[in-house]
Amino acid sequence: MNLSSDFFEIFAIPATWQVEPGQLDLRYRSLQQEFHPDRYANKGAVEKRLAVQTASLINQAYETLKSPLKRAQYLLQLKQIDASQDSHITSDGTFLMHQIELREELSDVRNNEDPFAALNSLRTGVEASYIEQQSQFQIQYQSQAYDQAYDTVAKMQFSAKLLDEIEQLEVDLEDQ
């Protein structure tokens, strides 16, 4: 089974940080046109099962390449570096201090007079540093500074998680 192809091969693009989202979308749709289980609805059980497996792999590849964090982790995985653990923490003390401040800011949002405005300004800041971290990763990965790239992924994990929590809080606030 050719299911061992790496995700970049499946999408017929080079294994680099830079990914063109439009190209990814097009390739994704054309692959699913061919391998989605619905294309095998009339086939036997074996073919159906193979189609489910293949389509699952295509979905996983698409999801990985689309997400900046997952793509970064996957690029390191291709270099035999496991950067996908939650326990993976950066050694940058200043960064960690700043994260603690941001978390405090987040937990104070509920007490703010205009919690939505406070949440928005927090988000703008975190998004900006997330993008900054991504450019750092790109440079480090390109120059094969994998140790540094590994550390940057830990920072990206912080940012992505914080953005999730900001969003969750916004949902909670809206529901009240």
Partner: protein, 624 residues
């Protein structure tokens, strides 16, 4: 490629014989069946010309006495034996059902599967059996229209249905003897019926707001050249137009000055009055009421004050789905209204207000889902090449496993495109441990007790080792219908673990088999004849497919000995298919041919993938 080239005359089934497929909208209040005729989807009516079938079955001590309109007539006179709105109970537990309060007048009993059964004069009845009766009635309607057996059906489910609810729906179809081509999400079906993918070079985003009798769904889809890609879905599988009726009935009860404890007949009467008032108010500004010697008036503003909170709840779900899709209301090019409850004008008003545009509702909101399902069924059964219509659905709720301390660890996040596979590694924590229990849940909350329990898997047959030495890889596979399967393997010894599944709120395989036998022994249908016919259809399909595959790829992918063996197996199958009157030997032979051709199928899939990667079709490789 013409298949006739490879079939000997008279021996092969006609390859271009038209197959009979339908789309079924199995609704809370009403159900419908539709099919495609001359390229157009149309809803099939019964002998009296009625298209909607009330989702109601009436039971007597003899069993089911009638289904649909006739059954609904017993609503008020015999409420305990007239089972309606069972869609609300599908895949649910007794606890969930009790939380519906007095909304359903039935008496429930728990069975050992944890799923509620309804006490009737015919004994305990599972909601799945009631749904099967409705499906059987609709399939019968279609078979009369076709004057032929049904080849398959696409059955719609609310996009927000969890795995247990989907499985229950599929089990109902199995009980009714219907081959399910696909469980299709209702909003996606509606999008297909509207044909918004046609004549569009530009991709666009649409929102489908689906408010049925008992369920609410919101889906955000991206359409691009025939591909319907669900970006996010949300909703509430226990909120619908029935809740409007209950809110109005409750108001009515207070106006009349009745207490809270009503008997089932009083309850039904108030509900029926509330329902007709709601329907009258879709056109009139006010409705006169006359019930239990009480006369009064309900106006639109009064009704709005009763239902606005419920509608607002749906709008919050819309906002959340937009957020999940990373979009805002300005990105939406069309909003489609689906479901009978969107006939209440207030719903359309508030939806228009949220999205800042008038929603589309030119197709009958009751029929649009069944029509879309019929169009998809036509493609899946193989009558239409499908051009490039493709539906990419998502899992509506996250899947996870229970971890230490009653927490949940998410394995597959909500709104992930399906099919999807994920794997996890576990180890043993005791020396010589040979078994392990895995509890699978679905939901967004952090505590396992706040999520829906789907199933408990017991892994057995782990080779005994010291604690922490075993590495058990558990693989979760969610298929395109949103149904889960689990497999496990111990990696260091490569031993496949045996998995015993105990669905939390469903039927076990044995229970389904028993029910199936009961239903056949009660019905006029001859189980043996039907089963044989099914196996013959499968044998024909298999022979045709394999011959075509050998013709196309046999030279490239099989050596001469493999090819000879496969041909012998096919010939034996063909022989048996023509001669046997027993379905079991035929089923066994089909199974054995499937096994013999498994490797060939894998090589063909592999070759397709390679050619897709190389950006050319297998045909071109053949030619080269």
């Amino acid at each position: 490629m013409a298949l006739l080239q490879i079939s000997e005359p008279g021996q092969s089934p006609q390859p271009h014989q038209r197959k009979h497929a339908v789309g079924i909208d199995l609704g809370t209040t009403n159900s419908l069946v539709a099919t495609v005729r001359s390229g157009m989807a149309e809803v099939l009516a019964d002998e009296q010309g009625r298209e909607l079938l009330p989702s109601v079955a009436h039971y007597t001590s003899m069993g089911v006495s009638c289904v649909g309109h006739e059954a609904a007539e017993h609503n008020v006179s015999d409420p305990l034996n007239t089972l309606a709105s069972v869609k609300r109970l599908m895949g649910r537990g007794l606890v969930d059902v009790k939380s519906f309060g007095d909304q359903l007048p039935y008496e429930f009993a728990a069975d050992d599967g944890g799923m509620p059964k309804i006490k009737t004069m015919a004994g305990l009845v599972s909601p799945i059996q009631v749904s099967a009766e409705i499906l059987r009635k609709l399939a019968g309607r279609a078979e009369i229209a076709f004057d032929s057996m049904l080849d398959g059906a696409v059955i719609t489910v609310p996009a927000y249905f969890d795995e247990a609810q989907r499985q229950a729906t599929k089990d109902a179809a199995t009980l009714a003897g219907i081959k399910v081509l696909r469980l299709l999400n209702e909003p996606t079906a509606a999008a297909i019926a509207y044909g918004l993918d046609q004549d569009q070079d530009q991709e666009r985003i649409i929102a489908i707001y689906d408010l049925g009798g008992g369920t609410f769904d919101i889906s955000i889809l991206r359409l691009s050249k025939g591909v319907f890609e669900v970006l996010a879905t949300g909703g509430d599988s226990a909120l619908g137009g029935d809740d409007f009726d209950h809110a109005i009935a409750d108001w009515l009860r207070r106006q009349i000055g009745m207490g809270e404890n009503l008997d089932p007949i009083e309850q039904r009467t108030l509900l029926e009055t509330a329902k007709s008032a709601k329907e009258e108010l879709t056109v009139a500004e006010q409705a006169e009421l006359d019930v239990f010697d009480w006369q009064g008036t309900i106006t639109r503003p009064i009704m709005h004050s009763l239902i606005d909170d419920l509608i607002d709840k749906t709008l919050r779900a819309c906002k959340r789905s937009l957020r999940d899709a990373g979009l805002n209301t300005a990105s939406i090019s069309n909003v489609i209204l689906v479901g009978g409850s969107t006939r209440t004008p207030r719903v359309g008003e508030k939806v228009a207000e949220l999205f800042g545009r008038e929603p589309l509702c030119n197709l009958d909101p009751d029929q649009v889902v069944a029509m879309g399902a019929a169009l998809q069924a036509e493609v899946l059964v193989g009558n239409k090449s499908g051009d490039d219509m493709l539906l990419l659905d998502v899992i509506p709720l996250s899947l996870g496993v229970e971890t230490m301390g009653g927490l949940i660890e998410k394995i597959i996040h909500r709104n992930t495109t399906i099919p999807v596979a994920k794997a996890q590694e576990f180890t043993t924590f005791k020396d010589g441990q040979t078994a392990m229990a895995i509890h699978i849940l679905q939901g967004e909350r952090e505590l396992a007790s706040d999520c829906r329990s789907l199933a408990r898997f017991d892994l057995r047959g782990i080779p005994p080792m010291v604690a922490g030495a075993a590495k058990i890889r558990v693989a979760y596979q969610v298929d395109a219908d949103g149904l889960l399967s689990v497999s496990a393997r111990e990696l260091t010894s490569n031993v496949e673990s045996r998995i015993e599944v105990k669905p939390s709120y469903g039927l076990g395989e044995e229970e389904i088999t028993n029910m199936l036998q009961d239903s056949f022994s009660n019905a006029r249908e001859d189980m043996q004849a039907r089963a044989l016919r099914e196996q013959q259809v499968e044998a024909d399909r298999m022979i045709e497919d394999l011959l075509a595959a050998i013709y196309k790829d046999g030279d490239a992918l099989l050596d001469s000995e493999e090819r000879r063996c496969l041909k012998v197996a096919i010939e034996e199958l063909r022989e048996l298919r023509e001669t046997t009157k027993e379905h079991r030997p035929l089923a066994r032979q089909i199974e054995s041919v499937a096994k013999a051709s498994e490797e060939f199928a894998a090589r063909r899939m592999d070759a397709s993938i390679r050619s897709a990667l190389a950006g050319q079709s297998l045909d071109e490789i053949d030619k080269g």
